[in-house]
Symmetry: C3
Subunit: 629 residues, 3 copies
């Protein structure tokens, strides 16, 4: 297959006379895909039942006619103002009870049946008209589920739906009371209709109550998406896609993906560094204009796991954004680097956001490939450079990675509900592990917890996996596995299992005590490195592979199965990986350099602000180099 | 008398077949008391008016039959879900107007008469049944008043009750207007029903209004507790107890204590260090696994003052808790140390919380003496060690301390309402003074402001005592007294008195100006030490005992009565104590070591993470040693 | 004219027998003006329609009889409790939807017609009675508009008024949709009554929507003030004044001023340092008891621009206040220094707040010239010293300053709505520029953006001026002007103009990219200094006057018109001013020393805590010296 470039475009924002010129210029830059339509409801149905598709017909014809393949978005993320007259109770409600009102986007509650049906009906109408249109080559449903914290809603609709969900799951209040341990603090219910959403309680609600709500809320997103997917599939056989947002964990992306054909995500490396990464100010200053060296790769690997390897970058940052606390410009070269990194991780399409910076409204300061005055912004030349490189190069393919990391959304909910320490965050833990692998030059696959075959890997890591599913448990013997910290320590209902975890096959070790640690209290490990944030006491006669300076076991196991009883700092992660004695080349990369192996090439990406030398090659800041394998 | 150990137990959480074994094991560990029942309402009255006491009968019989004395709790802190159907308006409301809903605990407003009566009726019913039960040796009313900020409620019930309270106190709106100075900003009222609770105002409400609300709110807790105490006393003559929580100041514990027989508190040294102590990260790292060296002792001394010396630790931390920002495990030995420290301060009973860690619900990560899987946690051995030591040792008794510190809840409210500087907190000020005494090896008594006899003491400190009551004022001449900073500077209504304070007998000094100081602006004192946070300008011809580097008087007085016009740092506290020329041995203790003298012994507690040597004795980290006096 | 001193006084707070003595003492201190009445509504109309002016008659007679000129305040900032019975919906509502209730002050929404009319009627009634009273020499309307964040209200009254305001401005929803770019995210409206206030949206509302709301809210304050001004002018020809508060930017003071005769402001140097200044702890510690060396001067210069040079300090801090996070006392001498600095900047009257510290209510800890017990506080002697100096000295007059700075309220709203970086604040930017000029010894005039004549100045700065009005644009050629950063980059509707800015006459430069920078990422400038917070990329062939270390242009222009493309640090500001090659003497002042030239004298104010030497003169901390010009 041929990797390709695309761009997001809003014909409704520009005079119609500009469309053809825009389309021609996209093609000349080397773009071949264009996403449109996903926020245009007020132009498609200006008044209830009054549809206007003519402009969209012409836009698709113009873009398609120029040789571009169109991704058409359903506009459900932006219901028009009149929709609120029809469904005054469709708004989500925040945890303090305030409605989240009209005036921006994503102003709907996933549990509101009326609006969900209206959104599906609009999708059906679009698919009826464009499902067989030769220019429309793919569909995007909605936009960035969960963005702006829109998964958890405390509306009346959500409350009713939650009660139904509970009734279906538990069948009787007594069963629910037992499952949740509601005898504690007299929290027992005699009727499902007595159960409220877990907000506004005096102190922490029952974590089982909260986890049930989190599962429910994720299911609501899945159903919401499924309704539109079903509506679309009646009229089209083009692939269905959703564009996920980075570090959004409030719904299970694997579950949403089951109703889709291709996964995609929106990659904003510099925005994410500023807005959603725990790191020191010094670290953030170093990567200010490049983004974190692992954040993009992590999401690439994550989304590659969703739909049998088919994934895209639907929105790629091409310049400064508007929404992070601080919004610097990319270092020259980074747009090209990010694009190539996506391809090296297997992206089919990388689509820049957006064609031309809009001069108005919320995102007027969000750079595009073109400036508001139609002059090219720096991103254009970098996109064109990638397009030229793509033309001159065979497809790089995708190779199976030698190591894998389990990523599990319910575990993130469980630890969010019951962190037991202010700094325990599932994403942080997983991402630290991922970074550790990448620092050693390894390519990584990410796997869901439902995986049952690990035989392709030389190492599988599962830190923080709350509950180990049986199929994965059965697969553990197939390769070297490292579980922990905090792995298999809870039941599905978020209680402590008997026998207590991690309860691993052939590994006689029990976590007898857990401790959370404040900053500045790292605990030293014999031989180097330290434990941060989280430390467990192990009991049992499992063989000790690594111990704390006080002699307590930290890593135990043998024959390929190990358990790690603390959150390692970077130095300790290095030692842990070394200790596993893998049949792999572990690199010692310059700071900021990262590698990725595809089916055909090894890529090196220099995220550092300085030239680095590796393997005899000097690589400039923001440069990408590759070697055939 | 014989000091003894106990434990908190929840038979309703465990299969009945485990009860007898649990009871036997408690006895074998050396425990002789067991607290039960305080959260079990949904099991005692599963549906309105449908009572089930059979299980409790059997639990008491089993525990009592094994030789344990039972403390029976009234379950009013956890009204069942159906109670809200009866009293939909019983919930407390937070300062922003949100109800604090069902789903955890303490979901009631102290001003709701209906629920207060229902809670008292339940207490009466329990007392009718168990008031003469030979195994039931004491009663606990409710649980941790004020925990989770539950004293201040802005409900409709609270508003009505506040208006009544004001009408009774002031008799006429004009009297209230004058008392509060409502002419200021045209805040005058013509009807008590026009007066709202002091929340949601545009800027700070009248501090007199706020202080009245704080007094009212405290009174509501007192009445709430009194209603149950009265109900219980009709049917039992066993002692009544409440378990206070550490550093809760929103109600007057002395006032609640008047309706009780024994004070108790819940001591979580490591949780409090993390959650409710102002200290540097370095200090908190040093005492991470031991807790603050003075926090427990302070509360022990405070609660000893409540009921003629009768006090207990009702809940003693035995391992990591779940509710603080960070939850490390105690250093080995600390459970024993904490227990002995309580006995050395006069506790009759120290009761661990809890017997076995519950595997479900909110506190599933809160360690007990036993693990969820019934294996012993580290606390068990330490409890058993104390039990053995107790058996081999005569009772240590209680000695009157040589120095006393006045502690006054209304002063804490006054300064909370009118801090005049972001860092002025009454507890911090008092606790700094307490630490200073303890660092010098002194045992301390805490006294309420209503005290009228100081003759037993060589020194009495009253920092931050807003208003000096007449009896205490009269007693000042009996011994060396040090008042200030901010002592006797306000009226009961929180206005400035005429003549201006401190207005002390025989001490011609007036506070003519007060200043609050940000961090980093400590003011030097001649001879060493500095003033932090708060500094007063003194006027008058009182003799100067200590002066600021700029020559201003800082401490004035003679003949045993002194006034201190600033908040001392640690070095200055040392100097102040030295300067008073007390007929006391002032020790120079190693960092982290603390002493306590009982009637029979001197105890030394090593809170530091290192071995220390004192008085020729080497004392290991977390160790306790004692010498007969 | 003769500069004079005054004081704020509350006869209603004190027994009538004290009034005459107070008045006599004011005169003996050297005060000649007294402001009264602005919070006394509950005493003027205790019950609806029941007026009591007798006490005010006597107070005015007593004060005036003693030789004092009275400023009479309208009491609309403190409507009595009964007003809420008449207008239950008169309260402002905060952004989360909570009403801002009775119990302090400023509890009204500027959009409530009923209360606005009632307030104007009260003003009319006062003016009828006192408009020709020989002792009443001036009027103050209301008190500190915008204090306690009271400009933005989200009440039903505000919503209705906003819709009307929009309808009048845009005439049709389509016009509004186009102006705001509502096609973005389907935010289009078909009816003005569908438009809500821009609070509680899911994510950021359209910045044009927010800016419209900000303009509307400012207009509501203007109209509110105008209603009382009109009512007063019917019955009096004495000057009308409002007392603005420091660093309040939510309404356009220039617009309010058009209905008034004299501007005044309330100057609390130490309170502002603690409460509303971004500075390092070390800087704040240095100026702890003096206040920022430029904050007062800035506001003096700002308010001098409002009413043709007529301006007062209506409230001058005379000792510690009560409302800042920390409230230290002024360094001895500062009250005199602040007073003289006001006169040096042209104040007609400096009036201390307040005569005697009230012993009750919210401001009981706010020092006055006199203590609550009627003894003189330190401020009295300093006020008397100034009075004596004034008597012995000719009037200093006002000289036009050689440099000017444009200050524009709508720009502050625009950048507040669309900061594009967490640290971009219009006031900070302007104030940094002002400081830079003052550090070089320059006197400064502040000008509104509507200015059309710059010929009197040798330099005019306009950093952050969002939109350049045509008259100002036309005036640019009259002198040396420096615009930027972020100047003329937006339209009036807060969108990006075409062609893109700054679009200055004769200066071929375009801002092609903007970046916001986090702390710790300052960018070096060739030759010294650095860019902080904000950096723009310039394009075009304008001459480069200053460039970044990487060679990019930072300051461009010639022939007196320059554009600056970044936010300078202090060192860079110095270089920028030097580079402009002005025909001015640029001083190199000791740290903390400031100069101000009047028509007759040069004044030097030493804000530093140490003696400094300048120009051969040694100036003690907190001292003022002057030399005839």
């Amino acid at each position: 297959m041929k990797r390709a470039l695309g761009v997001c475009y809003y014909p409704e924002h520009w005079p119609e006379e500009m469309w053809a010129r825009d389309a021609a210029e996209m093609v000349s830059v080397g773009l071949s895909w264009v996403r449109i339509g996903e926020f245009a409801w007020s132009r498609l149905e200006p008044d209830p039942g009054q549809f206007d598709f003519d402009w969209l017909d012409r836009a698709i014809e113009t873009l398609g006619g120029a040789g571009l393949r169109v991704i058409l978005g359903t506009p459900s993320a932006t219901p028009p103002r009149w929709m609120l007259d029809r469904f005054p109770d469709m708004l989500a409600v925040d945890a303090t009870g305030h409605p989240r009102t009209f005036g921006s986007r994503r102003h709907y509650c996933h549990s509101h049946d009326g609006y969900r049906d209206a959104a599906a009906a609009m999708a059906a109408r679009l698919a009826e008209r464009y499902g067989k249109n030769p220019h429309v080559a793919a569909w995007q449903i909605d936009n960035e589920y969960g963005c702006h914290d829109t998964v958890l809603s405390y509306s009346a609709a959500a409350k009713d739906a939650f009660r139904n969900w509970l009734a279906q799951k538990y069948q009787s209040p007594d069963a629910l009371n037992r499952a949740w341990g509601n005898v504690f603090w007299s929290m027992e219910y005699s009727d499902f209709n007595d159960i409220d959403l877990p907000n506004l309680t005096v102190t922490q609600p029952n974590p089982s109550h909260e986890l049930a709500f989190r599962r429910f809320a994720s299911d609501q997103v899945v159903q919401w998406n499924a309704a539109q997917a079903a509506a679309l599939r009646k009229h089209t056989d083009k692939p269905l896609i959703h564009n996920y947002m980075g570090r959004v964990l409030e719904f299970d992306h694997f579950a949403v993906a089951r109703d889709l054909d291709i996964a995609s995500w929106d990659s904003y490396p510099i925005g994410f560094l500023s807005d959603r990464l725990e790191a020191s100010p010094e670290y953030k200053a170093r990567y200010l204009r490049q983004g974190d060296p692992d954040m993009q790769a992590f999401h690439h690997d994550l989304y590659r796991a969703m739909n049998a390897g088919r994934w895209w970058v639907m929105e790629q940052q091409p310049g400064p954004v508007n929404w992070a606390p601080y919004n610097p410009a990319p270092l020259p070269g980074m747009v090209r680097l990010w694009t190539w990194e996506a391809f090296a991780h297997g992206a089919e399409i990388v689509s820049y956001f957006r064609w031309r910076q809009a001069p108005f409204a919320q995102e007027q300061m969000h750079a595009g490939l073109k400036r508001p005055d139609d002059a090219p912004a720096p991103g254009t030349a970098e996109a064109a450079a990638v397009a030229a490189e793509l033309r001159d190069m065979p497809d790089v393919g995708i190779a199976a990675a030698p190591v894998a990391l389990i990523f599990d959304y319910p575990s993130s909910w469980a630890w969010n509900v019951l962190p037991q320490g202010a700094d325990f965050d599932y994403f942080r833990l997983i991402f630290d592990a991922y970074r550790a692998l990448r620092r050693r030059g390894l390519s990584v696959d990410i796997l869901p917890a439902e995986t049952s075959d690990l035989s392709a890997y030389k190492l599988v890591l599962a830190p923080g996996l709350g509950t180990l599913p049986d199929p994965l448990r059965a697969a553990i013997g197939q390769t070297t596995c490292l579980l922990g910290p905090r792995a298999n320590l809870i039941t599905d209902e978020l209680s402590i299992p008997m026998p207590m975890g991690p309860n691993l096959p052939g590994l006689k070790t029990t976590v007898s005590c857990v401790e959370s640690l404040p900053p500045g209290t790292a605990r030293p490990v014999t031989g180097g490195g330290a434990v941060l944030h989280w430390h467990e006491t192990l009991e049992g006669d499992a063989e000790t592979a690594l111990e704390m300076a006080d002699g307590a076991p930290l890593m135990v196991g043998k024959d390929g199965l190990h358990y790690l009883a603390g959150w390692p700092d970077a130095a300790l992660w290095d030692r842990v990986i070394d200790l596993l004695g893998l049949d792999l080349t572990l690199e010692d990369l310059p700071d900021g350099l990262r590698l990725r192996d595809t089916a055909t090439h090894r890529f090196a990406f220099n995220y550092s602000p300085d030239t680095v030398t590796w393997n005899g090659t000097s690589i400039a800041a923001a440069d990408v180099v590759w070697w055939p394998l």
